[in-house]
Symmetry: C2
Subunit: 151 residues, 2 copies
Amino acid sequence: MKEQEQFLNGLSTLLDKMQLLDRDTMQSQLNGFKPAEVHTIEFIGKHSHTNVTQISSAMYVTRGAVSKMTKRLMAKELIESYQISDNKKEIYFRLTTAGKRIFNIHESLNHQFEKRDESVFKQTSQADIDAVLSFISKYNQHLDVLIKDRQ
Amino acid sequence: MKEQEQFLNGLSTLLDKMQLLDRDTMQSQLNGFKPAEVHTIEFIGKHSHTNVTQISSAMYVTRGAVSKMTKRLMAKELIESYQISDNKKEIYFRLTTAGKRIFNIHESLNHQFEKRDESVFKQTSQADIDAVLSFISKYNQHLDVLIKDRQ
DNA sequence: GTAATATTGTTGCCATAGAAACAATAAAAA
DNA sequence: TTTTTATTGTTTCTATGGCAACAATATTAC
C-alpha cells in the first residue's frame, strides 16, 4: 500500500474506533444527551459570542443543521440566544448554567479518553511526536488553502 | 494545548476538510451515488465473499445500517447476493458489472485526491513520514486491544 | 438616497445511521 | 438427540444532517 493511502486509511479507522469506544462512556455518563448536542455545547462553551454561521463553518456542517441544533438546545435550556443592539440579523449564543454543567462533564470525559490513550504517547519519542504534529499541521494548512481557493 | 489534544483536533478537522473537498468532486463525477453507497461498494469490491456482519464490523457501523444499504445497492443492481450450500443464514455479496464500474470510477477519484495532497508528502522527509505512519499504526493497535477487551 | 446583491437564519423534505426488538438459523451444552 | 444459547440479518422508530427554497436584514453599487 502506498504511503498516502496508508496514512488516510489509518486515520479514518483510528477515528472510527475512537468514536466507537467513546460512545459507550458518553452513553453512561452523559445519558440523555446526544453526541451532536454535546459537541455543539462544547463549541459554544469554548467560543462565547458565536453565531449560527460561525458555528457551522467551524464545525463543518451546514447552517441548517446548526439552526436546528441550537433550537433544540434552547428548548432544553442548555444554551440561550442574544443579539447585539445594532444588528437585527445575527443571533449569538452562550451556555446557560445547565449547559455549563454538561460542558464540564464533557471536559472530564475528555480527560478520561486522554488517559485511556496516554500510553501510546508515552511510548513515543518526543522527536517522533513532533514529527507527527507538524505533519498534521502542515497537511491542515495545505487543505485550508484549497478550501479558500475553492469558492 | 496539550499534545494529545492537539493531535486529536488536528486529525478530526483534517478529515472534515477532506470530506468537504471530496464531496464536490464526488458529486460531479459520481452523480446520483451517495458517499455511503460508494463507500460500501468500495469495501465489497476490495473484499469479495463478505457478509453483513463482516461489513458492519469493518466499517464500524451497525448490522442494521449495512442491511439497509445492501438492500438498496441490490435494488440498484450494483451488488448481488449469494449463499453457500451448507449455510442458510449467512448472505454474501459481490459487485455486479455496474458495481465494478462505480468501483473503478471511485478508484480513479482516489488517485485525484492523492495527487491533490501529494505535495504535503513530498515536502516531508522520509524519516518523518515513517514516524507518522508508525505512530498511527501503534495507536490503531492500542485501540484494537481496547475494543476487543470491551465485550 | 434607492436598487441590486449578499448574508444570515429557518424550514420542509429526504437520506442515512443507531438502538432495540425480532425471526430464522447455527453452534454449544446437556 | 434435545435443549439452550449465540449469531445473523431484518425491521421499526428516532436522531441527525444535507439541500434547497425562503424571508429578513445588511451591504454594496449606482
